[in-house]
Amino acid sequence: MQRFEIVVVGAGPAGIAAAVSAAESGAQVCVLDAGAAPGGQIWRGGAERHSRTAARWATRLRQGQQISVQQNTQVVAPLAAGELLVERPDGPQSIGYDRLILATGARELLLPFPGWTLPGVTGVGGLQALIKGGVPIKGRRVVVAGSGPLLLAVAAGLRRSGAEVRLIAEQSDWARLLAFGAQLPLDPARLLQALRLRATLGRTAYRAGCWVEQAHGAEQLEAVTLRHGAQRWREPCEQLACGFGLVPNSELAATLGCAINAGAVVVDYAQQTSVSGILAAGEVAGIAGVEAALAEGAIAGYIAAGRPAQAQPLLARRAAARRFARRLEHTFALRAELRQLASAQTIVCRCEDVHYAALAEHPSWRSAKIHTRCGMGPCQGRICGAATSVLFGWTPESIRPPVAPVALATLITTSSAHSINLEEHV
């Protein structure tokens, strides 16, 4: 077993900031990340290539004297107290820690509508990741739909990659967007960002109060039905990117016993969870964007390294980022119509092919899960669990290890400190 003073899970902005701050305070740090390079979702494929801020953080991470960065490393389950089971390409490992910082980020919220399982339909961030992974998009007609600022960022990226973005369909309405926009000039950095996006997007149509009702196609996506007020039309396209915001990846935290509220890990002012010695930072502790992730990560890093004074100056930045996030949340709150899109036959759980009608008769997530198999497949409810909390108000529960599908051989690895004696019955 390898042992470190501080282990950080996740190398997105929050994890990078946590590791750098802790190491620069003199602690010995290990970062475990499932991806191929540091960066997380927003700086996917290596932080250096993204922005100056990203590059600066990446350099500090790389140059950190006391940081061991382990990529392609999936944390699978807690072993004994203070120990994690991880899966790496070269096999399973157990990693010990004195203090743990969870920076496991978020995933997209996908909501079911007729046709959403057709090839050609992805999440918004999902399509972005595919393109960064080299999937060709040039000349393809794309509709970007759903909700939130990610729509604009991804649409801009799509255009740069040569896609023909037919339309950006934002479900929230103009009234909310304008109220939000009116506050933007107060924040010059964000205004600039918005203007740059606007320039890249050129004349791409952006419609607010507009959403996808249905995706059509025999084998592959051919068109979508869009709804805008009383208007309804069919828009031909080969690709639909549709996402409704983000949900925290709080499964690992839950298996460690951390309190969770509304899907996010509960943290105090010092980013500490309900479990002593375990901190959380970034989207896993609430969807608040990259600025908040960086501030929270740095605070968590300083606190874990025993340098609370260093964290002090970051509190105002975190508060501002979180205020901004609350405004975003209000601006992009999901409209009630989205809960009515699925028809009786629409599949809600893709792993186990469970239809909307089969779920609707159940009183709770657990009842639906046990009796319909919803959420029992390989994704263990990561997609359909979030969707059913929007559709039915259910709370997915009983997170059990492993937190991701894992080779059985990995689970045979036990803690070095803790092994059990079986009586010889056999």
Partner: protein, 374 residues
């Protein structure tokens, strides 16, 4: 809502559901009170192996009788129970276990249960992934697999079709001729049937029940890589141990193509969390018997609490010193199988009919200390 019933059943696990179905079909006014969801207790955590076991004679009698009842029930709508007629292959590791398999075969045959000894060569023809060097096995074709929560729901549905009511409430105390619900309401009944699984003890602390925690792990889909439920012959010893922790090789094919891997037994672990060390031991045992399992992908592990009695047999019949209260609990690791037999035995006693199999070995009074001590 009426507040007086002929029979009031506490718990809609597989046992309570089977009792409800049986009593409602017999024409009684039945209520089932469940605090959570139908089939959501230990019933949702179990393997659903409908299996004949011969750890003792009464166990053999109850499991084989129950298996016949399952065969009748499953004949109606097998797919709804996610039934898989896979049989059991008891695996003998060495000559000693093979001798045990022969003895088992003789006992089964004496009770009219078909089974067939399998030599080493045939063992590998049946299950090529088993590790080399095993001695042989015993094939029991009549054993099969169901999905327990679905079966519980179907039994409840049948009870409802015969007029039973399902009441969503928690019973917080047993009262003379009835129960007190958590909301303060009292329901009365000629007979109160306690089928609360491991939680029965909260209402009747004198019951000799202990929790035996079991772990299970489920894989992604690998259709047809095993064909029968595979259990090591040492399993029965593991199941009947009255102390200590143990694991045994026990792997089940699901109709989805997934593999359900068991099993472990740990006493007095009341929490439901996964013990990573015990899970590892259990999986290691599985890999010892079937090395290829190490390569498969596991998507989830979980635990369940088996309600265990000191002699490993359930409590079926009148509760001692509690007039009007009947017990249907303590089924340890066989409650899915024995739920149907339990319901028949209980109904026969309640209605004064002759019992289909001898009732004495399962009567709760065997644990009444006062009569036992004179």
């Amino acid at each position: 809502m009426r507040t007086h019933y002929d029979a009031l059943i506490i718990g809609a696990g597989i046992v309570g559901a089977a009792c409800a179905s049986e009593l409602a079909q017999a024409g009684l006014h039945v209520a089932v009170v469940e605090q959570e969801i139908v089939g959501g207790g230990t019933t949702a955590a179990g393997m659903g192996h409908i299996v004949v076991m011969d750890g003792s004679l009464p166990e053999l009698v109850l499991t084989s009788y129950s298996q016949q009842l399952w065969a009748e029930l499953l004949a109606e709508r097998p797919a709804d129970h996610e039934h898989l007629a896979c049989g059991t292959l008891w695996v003998a590791a060495d000559a000693e276990e093979l001798a045990e398999a022969q003895a088992k075969q003789a006992r089964y045959s004496a009770h009219g249960i078909a089974s067939r000894l399998v030599a080493a060569a045939e063992l590998y023809a049946l299950e090529p992934l088993l590790r080399p060097g095993l001695a042989g096995g015993l094939l029991v074709p009549s054993d099969s697999v169901i999905y327990p929560p679905r079966s519980a729901a179907l039994l409840i549905e049948r009870a409802r079709n015969h007029g039973a009511q399902v009441i969503s409430a928690a019973v917080c105390a047993l009262r003379p001729s009835g129960v007190l619900l958590a909301d303060g309401q009292t329901l009365t009944a000629e007979a109160v049937i306690l089928a609360g699984g491991i939680r029965s003890q909260a209402l009747a602390p004198e019951l000799p029940l202990r929790a035996k925690q079991g772990h299970l792990a489920i894989t992604e889909r690998y259709p047809h890589i095993i064909r029968q439920q595979l259990v090591e012959l040492g399993y029965i010893k593991s199941a009947h141990a009255s102390s200590g922790d143990s694991v045994a090789f026990n792997v089940q094919p699901r109709p989805t193509g997934q593999l359900l891997i068991g099993s472990s037994r740990q006493f007095d672990r009341s929490e439901r969390s996964v013990d990573q060390a015990m899970l590892a031991q259990m999986l290691r045992r599985a890999v010892e018997y079937m090395p290829a399992l190490a390569q498969l992908t596991v998507i989830r592990a979980w635990t369940g609490l088996r309600p265990a009695t000191p002699d490993g047999l359930p409590l079926i019949g009148p509760a001692w010193q509690r007039p009007g209260v009947w017990l249907a609990t303590g089924h340890e690791g066989l409650g899915i199988t024995t739920a149907l037999g339990t319901a028949k035995l209980l109904a026969a006693q309640l209605l004064g009919h002759s019992a289909p199999i001898p009732a004495a070995p399962y009567l709760p009074a065997r644990f009444d200390k006062e009569t036992a001590h004179g």
